[in-house]
Symmetry: C2
Subunit: 439 residues, 2 copies
């Protein structure tokens, strides 16, 4: 017991363990970077020397896991909206992205980390350019992250040709292999921007190192039609055919998927990242999440990039996910609050291969914990903490954030870096982007 150095107390614990245990007047005891004990006040001994976080009657839960982001796109948030996808990409996003460099990605990712921390996300899976900068931003912020350089058939502003892209990916894997928070995935963009050879090489690297392969799959009906025309298969069918799908695969979006696709995803133990707000805003469609869950697929939740959402807010994403599938199926019982909470925590962690590391509050797991301040009109009264977390809590209600036992946010102040400095830097970057993009 002498090793317990941090105590989170005086809150309702939503553990997100296998039995969905909820503990009123609960205490989480942390030793170093690890959860030592989770229990009822009185049952957990609290050494006097331990640092105390008082939840003040609020909710204590595992940090949220955002399974799909392009965090540095905070730089482009609100640059262009309400446009046809190709206009938005080709006239606004691609021109702005062609001028990115390591430093702008670092700044954008740091801002993204600030936003994620202040909204209760403790772990994110990122895909972008200059991804080493995202790893550095996460490390500096004290966030858990899975980072991966986007790979595609054409030249990248970061690494140039695809040969260099694979070299860069191996460099990332080796650089970050012993980091306690940051790990690396191999991230081919999509079946429509990556030829089969690229995809197979990526899958080989994923297998060689036992790391996730993160890829956009069947985001739109256009993509489905393109791939059908090119390969005579659906995107999922094509990926299955060339041997890219495995339990290490994180398939992002999966909007335009058939029953056969769902069967293939399930049989290959593929994990899915569901991104409802981005899919809505870009008018991609509604992923058949109830069917995927019925097929036993592990579905995590993700925000996608903040240029197509326009935020990295997992609380808003949970609320939207729960409601979207109800109206889409005209069944108010589907994707209930507890299912959504699983998607945003333990199932997200499982999807990223971190199911034994984070996503629930259980002894032996890393201490990734958030505290929700419920002393607010919109959270009073509280009949069911799970209902509140999905349907009423807002990102700004997160008061404290602990990652790997480290108190990263306390009373909504970030301890690990200077947010004002980052916002000032991004404002300057934003002025340049606005000018060059003709705003």
């Amino acid at each position: 017991m002498n090793n317990v150095d941090l105590i989170v107390k005086n809150g309702t614990i939503v553990t997100m363990d296998e039995d969905f245990t909820i503990i009123e007047q609960g205490v989480v005891a942390v030793s170093g970077d690890t959860i030592f004990e989770v229990g009822k006040s009185g049952d957990v001994s609290m050494p006097e020397t331990a640092r105390i976080i008082d939840a003040r009657g609020g909710i204590i839960m595992p940090g949220l896991v955002n399974t799909h982001t392009h965090a540095a796109m905070t730089c482009f948030r609100g640059l262009a909206d309400d446009l046809p996808l190709m206009d938005w990409l080709e006239k606004h996003i691609f021109p702005a992205e062609s001028r990115l460099n390591y430093n702008t990605v670092l700044a954008g990712a740091r801002l993204g980390c600030a936003e994620m921390l202040l909204s209760g996300t403790t772990c994110f899976c990122d895909m972008y350019l200059f991804e080493d900068a995202v790893g550095e931003a996460a490390r500096a912020a004290g966030m858990r992250a899975v980072v991966g350089e986007v790979l595609y058939d054409f030249d990248s502003p970061n690494y140039g040709s695809i040969e260099k892209g694979f070299e860069y990916t191996r460099y990332l894997i080796e650089k970050w292999q012993d980091d306690p928070l940051v790990s690396v995935a191999v991230e081919p963009h999509s079946p429509y921007l990556c030829d089969p050879e690229l995809l197979c090489r990526a899958a080989a690297i994923s297998g060689e190192y036992g790391i996730p392969l993160v890829i956009h799959v069947s985001e739109t009906i256009d993509e489905l039609e393109t791939i059908k025309k090119r390969y005579g298969k659906t995107p999922v069918g094509h990926l299955a055919d060339i041997g890219v799908l495995s339990s290490r695969t994180v398939a992002c979006h999966c909007v335009a998927v058939s029953d056969d696709d769902i069967r293939l995803l399930s049989e290959n133990h593929v994990n899915v990242s569901h991104n409802p707000e981005s899919n809505m805003k870009l008018a991609a469609g509604v992923a058949p999440v109830p069917q995927m869950l019925s097929a036993g697929i592990t579905v995590g939740l993700g925000t996608d990039g903040p240029a197509s959402n326009n935020d990295l807010d997992m609380f808003a994403e949970m609320d939207t996910a729960a409601k979207l599938h109800k109206v889409n199926t005209l069944d108010p019982t589907v994707v209930d609050a507890r299912t959504v909470l699983r998607m945003a925590t333990i199932d997200g962690a499982r999807a990223l291969g971190l199911g034994n590391v984070c996503g629930s509050l259980e002894p032996g797991k890393k201490a990734d914990i958030i505290v929700i301040d419920t002393r607010k009109p919109h959270l009073t009264p509280m009949y069911d903490p799970c209902s509140h977390l999905v349907y009423a809590v807002r990102a700004n209600d997160v008061s404290s954030v602990i990652i790997g036992g480290n108190i990263v946010v306390e009373n909504r102040r970030i301890n690990t870096f200077d947010v004002d400095e980052i916002m000032a830097e991004i404002k300057e970057i934003g002025k340049g982007i606005a000018l060059k993009n003709g705003r």
Copy 2:
């Protein structure tokens, strides 16, 4: 100029006037309860005696107008979710509502006012039982409100039989007729809970006093089928037939409406209250808002009651409205940010017959103003204030709220009443509800 006693300065003003004027480095000068001048810093004289609200580079805009609420249902928020509509109503909500009285509705409405103020809503249109209590809650909070007692064919826990219901409505109209903030509407529940005679008498009162008639219309496909069976018409067709529809009508929901219904709504100058989050959560369906807007119908936004949402948060509602219609039509250009902003401000005010009173920042209108603090990671950088307001701003980013020239919220503290006292009262009420509802 000596009459200017309040200045809101140092922000980007989104005026919501006819031309959608946006003023950077703007100033709003208020005299008494009225807006005196709106302009660029330097162009508006600022008397030294005036009280100053500094927006600190944020956004200054008209207060949001929530066109459909049952505010006192804050008491039941999260009591039951993810259930079939009839289970939810009959097993949870109706039993709880049968035990309501003036004092519980007063407490619930006060809590609702606190939540609405802290999320930037300055005006709301309410339908419930013991509605005089809601008027009193709004008056005490300093909020603009349109209140109306729900009328239906069966006995009410408040007034008993429908004869008394009409008497109570006339009592409300006379009691509140000279109030600067609170006004009254006649509010028959719906075509399925009100017989044609009740509806026609309600319409006559609306005409006699020139006040709104607020009614739920075509919320679900079940309702549509019930009314078709009973009257051989759609709900809209039936209401048109018996002469209930007029420019004073606020038709809430309008989910299950046909092209013919939309034509009838338009021809009769009916206003629509769109409640996307409630319609999603209860799996009612998606109202054809793009078609209603094309038909020239004035569409306001509303949250519906916090038991079916689960909040009174108009910022979340704007975000959802913009996204829902994009995915529903598979067209990312529909219901753009500016359209949604109109729905949540000036068009909501117009729908309630308050188009000359509030909903935009223009000289001569009542000073209902909110300030958004944008010095946050999730609001940095800012390319377009309208995009931010719909897709990125959260309710908790509202820093100050002015209603009729009165500073009701300053730095997120409510000046007009004690929020902690109300939360404590509601917690006690909630314990009783939980007990009696078998939780």
